[in-house]
Amino acid sequence: MRGIISAAGHVPHHRLRLERITETLGGVPARGTRAVASHDEDATTMAVAAARLALAAARAGDEVGLVAPSVVTFASATPPYLDKTNATAIHAALRLPRDVRAVDAGGAPRSAMGALLSALEGDRATLLTAADVRTGPPGGPDERETGDAGAAILVGSDGDGDVLAEVLGTSSLSEEFLDRYRPEGAAHTIRWEERFGETRYVPLAVEAFATALKDASLAADGVDRLIVTGLHARAVDKAAVKLAAGRDILVDDRTRAIGNSGTPHPLLLLADVLETATPDQTIALVVLADGADVLLLRTTDAISRWQPTPTITGQIAAGDDRLPYARFLTWRGNIVPELPRRPAPARASAPASSRNVDWKFGLTASRDRSTGALHLPPARVSWDGGAVDDMEPVPMADVKATIRTFTVDHLAWSPSPPTVFAVLDFDGGGRYACALTDCDAGRVKIGDRVELVFRKVGEADGVINYFWKARPLPLSSVPTDVDGVMHREG
């Protein structure tokens, strides 16, 4: 059986209420909110966040110890780097073995669905990741209709893990026409007037859906949950009505809450549906992007034993919608603010980053074998007793921590001052001091619980500086068993 082994979405912490836009720019207020990637998130970090959740959910029920992909792909219409693979940073942050192939999949929204279908048709355990940081010119439709998110799907066969949903059928139609496009170097996407795209997409959806049903030997009423998505909202709505054919099977496409995240959106919606699915349900995923792609799946018994945490529903509910529009514009580069009168950080050194890749990307510390003392960053000489070169690597990214003390730095250079900085004590030992993110500087307290997240700490001379930060956990979080984490990570 081949299908989906795990899936998860990453919805950023921040929301922009759409009426904030018209409060500033005028015009008719729109309702709803859109998800906003923080200033320290990009498509790569959001893909990492989703992939960590997907792998953790897959491994939670894994007695043997490791559900591991042999291929990692990254699809984005907003890749942080061009002419350099972004998936290798994701691969490093997930601490995957060197023989796992990490590749990027194109720069258009269709690439995520294309990669998913290819992976399902192949025979290797594949972790598909996708993420976009989307916006448009201030006041325009792309700004209010899109959103930022990441998603990850782990595809494989029985030997790779428990298959939650098996493939019943697929179909793809391709067609060259201009609906939305962004020439190289342009800041924003250009949209053709929407009636034209509608006349192309709706028939494509109908035809591809019928073909997929035939491929799966399914009747139209055999579908229990129908996902129709694509960046052409009007065409999606029209197609959805036609395909649902009056049945109450349409899935909320989440655009009212978080906006349309583009490339990751089909994967995000699939993960969202799987989170609430029960065994033996048929799910149809219809994606309208430069053609139409359809995937038909049927859930298995394993779905009842699988649950990513937090869920997409949970992340949407936890959103913070107090983001001012000016800060949103600043984060997306539409406003260039006066920064603290401090030197900007120098670019990260390529050789130093490469030497320290397990630390910088994987947050792997070292532990003194004789005394157990943890070293963040890893060290050769122990602070506890001075043993030399007697250390073992210890991955810390999944270990929770407690804030021992903290400060708010109004003067330090930051793309979004102030910098909140905390001294952390990890559950089971280990001290590290790092920046906090997704937090309210006025509400941080000594004793607060935090988790570690992979973020963009800065950028200089075109070098994106990825590293880890901490962010507050909900109050209910309890200390993790550090040894349990170690065993699971091998």
């Binding site: 401090r342 120098a346 400060t407 730095d409 109004h410 001290r431």
Partner: protein, 397 residues
């Protein structure tokens, strides 16, 4: 094996110090010429008399040529040293040891920093290529971690501690107001300090050292030669230095309420100088008050107060100009200003002048009965710092 020190073997015979200011009209070269020529005059020596030079600067120049070129020192050994904010003290330590071991008859220690040409606020470290994972916090933020930790550990009400910290700034501003060389010569009150613009954590702008340009220098000779140059030589009784291992940043037992590097350096210095009760024996102490919580904690690390009690001594005025043990009577880093590489020698300049009885209308009452003074100079941050302590005195033994 042991730290034996060079008690009473080396004496300072002359010192100089420029005003610490935003010297937009002076270069590092100008400041060096001002401080060095003043020091030559103070000791009554010529450039030809000096056999070797040590220059402390954090980032205002590289190599001994930084000093040799502006002073046109011809054929002399000049060594540039750097040890964060204690670079000036490090220069003195090297010069004193060179004389003590007999390598040279007369050596000069110089410290300089030209901070205000950068155009940035605060102090900035020269970036060394790295993997991008290092902290980019300001020093203010790192030291601001101390106040809440201290309040919690010793059960001090945070608002009361806030006012205690303000009293330290008020004291140092009052001292600076009396000192013509100091950067800030205006007194402030507790409310002004407490209500100032936030910099980091609880700390506002008045909790931070002044950022200034400046230079200072000292000339040392063997103690037995000192009276050839001055009637009032000041003996070096102890020099200690500790470079921290950074353990506080990785060891969960470190609680940010003390600086182990400083207490270790103090213990070594007291052993060298034979001091057992610093609070009673010292006429004054110049300490590294880069931020107000730093001075608070140093009172305990240097043994002037028991752990958890220095805040009460601050309230009682123990460390005021006319207090039991005057601390930073020249205004300290807070009001005198902090040109990184010059600060250590500026601290020695104040102790030197006070012990010589040359402080004029700022002469401390304590110097009538006590003959020793202490300099404490640190660099770095809580958890990861270097610390220097010296003891100077006018009486042998």
């Amino acid at each position: 094996m042991g730290s034996h020190g060079i008690k009473d073997q080396v004496a300072i015979i002359g010192m100089g110090c420029t005003p610490f200011r935003e010297h937009f009209d002076k270069s590092a070269d100008d400041l060096l010429v001002d401080a060095v020529t003043e020091t030559w005059r103070d000791a009554g020596v010529t450039p030809q008399d000096i056999d070797a030079y040590w220059l402390g600067t954090a980032q205002s120049g590289m190599s001994g040529i930084t000093l040799a070129a502006p002073l046109q020192l011809d054929g002399k050994p000049v060594t540039r040293v750097e040890n964060y904010c204690s670079s000036g003290s490090e220069a003195l330590r090297q010069a004193a040891y060179a004389v003590a071991c007999g390598a040279y008859d007369m050596a000069m220690a110089v410290g300089v920093e030209k901070v205000k040409d950068s155009g940035y606020q605060g102090l900035n470290a020269f970036p060394i290529p790295n993997d991008g994972t290092a902290r980019t916090l300001t020093a203010a933020a790192m030291f601001s971690l101390v106040a809440p930790a201290y309040a919690e550990k010793y059960g001090v009400d945070p608002d009361e501690l806030r006012r205690v910290l303000a009293m330290i700034a008020v004291k140092n501003h009052a001292n600076g107001a009396r000192n013509p060389l100091a950067q800030f010569r205006r007194e402030v009150d507790v409310d002004t300090v407490c209500n100032a613009a936030a910099v980091a954590g609880q700390l506002g702008i008045y909790d931070c050292a002044g950022v200034a340009d400046g230079a200072a220098a000292a000339i040392v000779v063997r103690a037995e030669d000192a009276h050839r140059y001055t009637d009032k030589p000041v003996l070096i009784k102890a020099l200690s230095f500790v470079a921290g291992s950074g353990r506080g940043l990785v060891d969960p037992d470190y609680d940010f309420t003390h600086f182990p590097e400083c207490s270790a350096a103090a213990a070594d210095a007291y052993a060298q100088a034979g001091i057992t009760d610093p609070r009673a024996e010292l006429a004054l102490a110049e300490v590294h008050d880069c931020f107000t919580p730093t001075e608070l904690v140093l009172m305990e690390d240097l043994g002037f107060a028991e752990r958890g009690t220095a805040w009460r001594d601050v309230q009682k005025g123990t460390f005021a100009f006319d207090g039991e043990l005057p601390v930073n009577p020249d205004g300290g880093l807070k009001a005198f200003g902090h040109p990184v590489g010059a600060s250590g020698l500026r601290m020695h300049y104040e102790v030197f002048r006070q012990l010589q009885g040359r402080a004029e209308d700022r002469q401390l009452a304590t110097t009538a009965t006590r003959s020793k003074g202490l300099v404490h100079n640190l660099g770095g941050y809580p958890g990861e710092m270097v610390s220097f302590v010296s003891i100077l005195g006018t009486e042998p033994g």
